[in-house]
Amino acid sequence: MAAAQAGDQRAYAALLTEALPWLRRRARARWPGSSTADIEDMVQETLLALHQSRHLYDPARPVQPFLFGILKLRGAEIRRRRQRHAGHETALEDMPADTSALMTHGTQEHDAEQAGLQKALASLGERDRHVLGLLKIRQLSLKEATTETGMSVAALKVASFRAVQRLKQALKGGADEN
């Protein structure tokens, strides 16, 4: 460490490499409940803090208490930060994937349904779209629709029934794809 204070890159790299497994071990022993990622965060923060406070080290004293002191202070800081953030977070593991809690805004579900319906309508034939447009979207009566299409009421009923069946099929197919 004294050589590192003088700017010796090799001595510094050797010190840090040698300290790494020791720091991981000490961090795991001190905070056994922490995840591997948290332990690695603590070790990295310790190394960064050591780098920024090299001038505080007194070569007459052993280096281990110095390193462990940094680990204790930085590790405690990280744990405090994690605990503070935990209050604002919600665990997602126990939630169903289609819960509206996962939505980023209120109309997202409605928007997704509308997009699916438009896609299914686009997959239908010209005649089916026309019939559904008249009877389901514009909501004309069968009599009014006959004058627009020139079809008989019976033919319109059959065409409408088949169009709805095909739309259902298209929607189901879209859902299967998802």
Binding site: A13, Q44, A49, H51, Y57, G69
Partner: protein
């Protein structure tokens, strides 16, 4: 980033650093600035006429000794706070010193109140204490922040609290030399109250000052 890569990068960036002196040396440097300032304040304000009598009174000298001990112990704790290898118990030394000092003043107040049939308990407003403590402690506090700027890398709040406590205790050490409190209760409430107030507000300002000094 992998820790091994971080180590390689840190090793590449390593530059020679100037070692910081030990906490004891920093206390000596701080006293070197503070003591002449305190002496100058006493001379500027004019020592009390009865100062020669006071300096031979054991009661007065004990209170002054405890104020001096709190000053030195607090300054030492402030310089220890920023070092990761210094034990946490050292940070509580100023609290112990301050409590002993306060207890001794309380004891004196009680004894005097019994001897004078309650005259030592008389309390009235003494607004001079607050600015006197603040003005006297200002230079020691600024010197403390300057000396802490490189050492308060860890536990900066503790360092600032101990540092301002040292400055406030130093001011309270010299205040009785130029300003006479009418009763012991006045010392306890106004002078020690001013010390506590300066410590709290000073610690906040010191932390801001340290942040800006980087």
């Amino acid at each position: 980033m992998r820790t091994e890569d971080l180590i390689a990068q840190l090793a590449r960036d390593v530059a020679p650093v100037r070692r910081l002196p030990s906490p004891g040396t920093l206390v000596a440097r701080w006293l070197l600035v503070t003591l002449p300032v305190l002496a100058a304040v006493v001379l500027m304000m004019g020592p009390r006429p009865d100062i020669a009598d006071l300096l031979v009174q054991p009661r007065f000298m004990l209170a002054e000794g405890l104020a001096a001990a709190t000053t030195v112990v607090s300054a030492y704790a402030a310089f220890c706070a920023g070092r990761p290898d210094q034990p946490a118990w050292k940070l509580f030394l100023p609290v112990a010193a301050f409590l002993v000092w306060l207890a001794e003043l309380g004891r004196q107040c009680f004894v005097l109140s019994v001897q004078t049939n309650g005259a030592a308990l008389v309390l009235h407003a003494d607004w001079l204490c607050v600015p006197a403590i603040t003005m006297t402690a200002l230079v020691p506090a600024a010197a403390m922040v300057w000396l802490l700027r490189r050492s308060a890398k860890f536990r900066p709040t503790h360092a600032c609290l101990c540092g301002t406590m040292a400055a406030a205790a130093a001011a309270e050490l010299v205040l009785p030399l130029f300003h006479a409190a009418d009763t012991m209760m006045m010392v306890l409430v106004w002078q020690m109250g001013s010390v506590a107030l300066f410590t709290m507000l000073g610690a906040l300002a010191a932390k801001l000052g340290l942040n800006s000094l980087g």
